[in-house]
């Protein structure tokens, strides 16, 4: 029972990340009709916002390290600690949550530049060309990041106070071994908040209404004299911010490296397709569904019956769903079928 509860939590947590990435991907597809293979790169850039912010905050004074005698080595003492003492240390400790403040404007800007600079020329091109150009872009972004930060993952720990785990077991009167890291719980809550915010924005604002109308029937909305294009540019920016925030918050769970976006890309496409191309609710539902299934497939009891099931479960589910529900869980007819 405890094991199952924990696996549900794991699944929700994974699902939160999948859903956040897939949400942006499907938002872009639904509005702009663009298959964006650089979306994983946006997630990665978000994670590197945290890394960059960490680098800035720990910008250090080089002090000769006397303990190393073989060659001239330098110890690094962050200026923040020199200037502000304890407060500086605390600021450095809180670098991941604080970097959200940096990530929002930066990712919005990157999204707008990407859309205006490149994506807008590909609205009318074939999906294959969109895939190729965004894939090329993803590689370029990735290599640039690699040349600055190297290929090795960079540790970006959560603040000290939430580094441990919460004893959920004690809270609900279960066994003591039901513990779960605070940061993962925070991530889950964060995912819900962001998903909720995006839905609320689309549901309750005029802007969102126009976007939804545009998604449903772009031509008619344009004929009404509304500049759909400009709004869609902003939508792309929003998608970039969502992916970026997912990346920032994920860094304490997975120390980021330049390849982290590619690792999530294939998976997030599967999530989007299972959910139904262009369906926001579908993407979220599929994200959580696949996360939970993946967690359960990894349990020893299940692996004993189907060896290697944890390696293929996501793809297996994708195949089954696509064969039984042709347009994914919540997809509309005719989307991306030509």
């Amino acid at each position: 029972m405890d094991a199952i509860l924990l696996q549900i939590l794991n699944g929700l947590d994974k699902g939160g990340a999948y859903a956040l990435i897939a949400l942006g991907l499907t938002l872009v597809f639904g509005t702009l009709g663009v298959v964006n293979f650089a979306h994983g790169a946006l997630f990665m850039l978000g994670a590197f916002c945290a890394v960059t912010f960490q680098k800035i905050m720990t910008f250090s004074k080089q002090v000769k390290d006397e303990s190393i005698t073989f060659f001239d080595a330098y110890k690094e003492i962050p200026y923040l600690e020199i200037w502000f003492g304890e407060t500086g240390t605390m600021l450095i400790d809180w670098v991941v949550p604080l970097s959200i403040l940096l990530a929002i404007p930066v990712m919005l800007l990157i999204g707008l530049i990407m859309e205006r600079g490149l994506i807008q020329y590909f609205y009318k091109r074939s999906h294959a060309e969109q895939i190729l150009v965004t894939f090329g872009l993803a590689i370029v972004i990735q290599e640039i990041i690699k040349s600055f930060f190297g290929a090795n993952p960079i540790p970006t720990p959560a603040p000290e106070i939430v580094a441990g785990s919460a004893n959920i077991g004690a809270l609900f009167g279960l066994s003591d071994s039901v513990v779960y890291p605070y940061w993962r719980l925070i991530y889950l809550a964060f995912a819900f908040v962001v998903i909720g915010a995006v839905f609320a924005f689309l549901q309750f604002t005029t802007f969102g209404m126009v976007v939804r109308a545009g998604m449903a029937d772009r031509e008619t909305v344009s004929l009404l004299g509304i500049n759909v294009e400009r709004r869609f540019t902003i939508v792309f920016g929003i998608a970039a911010v969502v992916a970026g925030l997912a990346g920032v918050m994920y860094t304490p769970i997975l120390p980021p490296d330049y390849h982290i976006g590619m690792d999530f890309l294939v998976l997030s496409f599967v999530v989007v397709v299972v959910g139904g191309m262009g369906s926001l609710a579908g993407a979220v539902a599929a994200g959580f569904l696949l996360g939970i299934l993946q967690s359960f497939a990894s349990m020893n009891e299940i692996k004993a019956i189907f060896p290697g099931i944890d390696q293929i479960i996501i793809y297996l589910v994708a195949v089954v769903i696509l064969l039984t529900r042709p347009r994914g869980l919540l997809g509309r007819k005719g989307v991306m079928e030509d």
Binding site: L6, A73, A151, D257
Partner: protein
């Protein structure tokens, strides 16, 4: 009518058609397939220089390690050519190196990208052999790649000096006459860790393995299991995890109430960084089970990876081939010369690659010929010292180096950003030695 396709001098790789079925047999013999008693692949005797092939991962997850290996190779080439301060050339004993290249010929090198994929690594090695005329190939950062390139080198008649490869197979069931490994292996990790684990954690423990689901992971799991079960530990479970899983939470949570009190992570690279980071987040390092402190062990440690795991490695036990903090003469000379050149200390991958290059050059000097058969003979059973791991021997039976192994622990109070691993014990060579026959395999012959 019978057509013999093999050549008279004992080059025996071709099948011999003994039936009369064979039609005209054109001896397809481009470049490296022409061999006789006096000629060998890419003989540099008539040129003014000798070319070495450095085949390292430059893209992909191990690119940083590859870059460090390449730095070490470049440093070794410098030293061989008599530039720089000479590094370990001054401490190596016995040494026939003169600092004027190899047999008086200037050392040059070509580089290639293995992408940590067997196919790409083989293509790159073939380029070096077929196009660039490399006489030796070295490098690598994964056992799959090392085994694949090693067998290619055997076919091509070129010596392969393995870089970072830790699987028992490299000098076990997949060993080759032309392949040599300085790095240690999973068996030696287990043998070295055993006594330390016993001393630190006692004899009554339950181990839970998380193992990367591919051949290297399996051999390490097996080696460690044998050791710990020999100590009287029980193996609670051994769970396979997909390579590159990223999030390991679904494999870690079952550990929490399994009753195990030691977690052994048979992961390497990104997998190790992620699984260790996440295990610590799940509170495993501070947990109490069976009235004992819960412990995590990472059998294969590397400083570059320790960097990625950050704070989480503190107090975690593991083994490593070499660490820059060693104070013997050879290590100091190498760290000094590497640090002066690049501004930071070398990794264990850099160390093993540097040593391999010097050993190869030295073997040529000893043999007095570039002919790989002579070089192999000089390397087999070669005993040396002053290269950082104490007295070392290249065992003739399986081309595996035997030397001291370091048991290390993540440093609790690092004095600098490089001071991540603390050497707990330098396990003497005698303790990690084993019979070459236990892993089977066949070296084959020198053509």
């Amino acid at each position: 009518m019978s057509i013999k396709v093999s050549q008279p001098n004992g080059w025996t790789r071709r099948s011999v058609l003994k039936t009369g079925l064979g039609t005209a047999a054109m001896a397809g013999a481009p470049m490296f397939f022409v061999r006789n008693a006096h000629a060998f692949t890419n003989d540099p005797s008539n040129g003014s220089s000798v070319i070495l092939g450095f085949n390292v991962p430059q893209t992909g997850a191990y690119a940083d390690e590859g870059a460090d290996e390449l730095r070490a190779y470049q440093l070794a080439v410098k030293h061989l050519n008599g530039e720089g301060d000479g590094g370990m050339m001054n401490t190596m004993k016995p040494s026939s190196l003169k600092g004027n290249g190899i047999l008086g010929k200037k050392v040059e090198y070509v580089t290639g990208d293995t992408q940590t994929k067997s196919d790409a690594a083989r293509a790159s090695a073939k380029r070096m052999i077929e196009k660039d005329g490399a006489i030796m190939i070295t490098g690598g950062s994964s056992s799959g790649v090392a085994v694949a390139v090693q067998s290619l080198c055997q076919e091509a008649g070129v010596v392969f000096m393995a870089g970072l490869t830790h699987s028992n197979d490299t000098t076990g069931k997949d060993k080759r006459k032309y392949g040599f490994r300085h790095f240690f292996n999973a068996y030696m990790s287990g043998a070295a860790l055993g006594p330390v684990l016993e001393k630190e954690f006692g004899n009554d423990r339950q181990a839970y393995h998380l193992t990367a689901d591919y051949t290297w992971g399996w051999t390490q799991e097996e080696s460690i299991k044998n050791t710990t079960e020999g100590l009287g530990w029980k193996t609670n479970a051994a769970v396979r995890t997909p390579l590159g899983a990223g999030d390991f939470s679904q494999y870690i949570t079952p550990v929490l109430n399994s009753g195990a009190d030691v977690l052994i992570l048979n992961h390497y690279g990104k997998d190790m960084i992620n699984s260790l980071t996440q295990s610590v987040q799940f509170g495993l390092r501070d947990k109490q089970v069976n009235d004992k402190d819960f412990k995590i062990v990472v059998p294969l440690f590397s400083r570059l990876m320790a960097q990625g795991a950050g704070e989480n490695i503190k107090g975690i036990f593991g083994t490593t081939n070499w660490n820059w903090s060693l104070t013997d003469e050879g290590s100091q000379a190498f760290v000094k010369s590497f640090g002066a050149e690049y501004g930071f200390p070398p990794s264990q991958a850099a160390h093993t690659c540097y040593v391999q290059t010097l050993l190869y050059a030295n073997a040529i000097e000893v043999a007095g010929t570039f002919n790989p058969c002579g070089v192999i003979e000089a390397l087999e059973g070669f005993k040396f010292d002053g290269m950082g791991n104490g007295a070392t021997e290249y065992r003739a039976e399986d081309h595996q180096c035997f030397k001291d192994v370091l048991v290390v622990r993540g440093n609790e109070n690092p004095s600098s950003q490089f001071d991540l691993l603390e050497v707990v014990q330098q396990v003497p060579r005698s303790q990690v030695e084993y019979d070459a026959a236990i892993f089977g395999g066949e070296l084959g012959a020198c053509a």
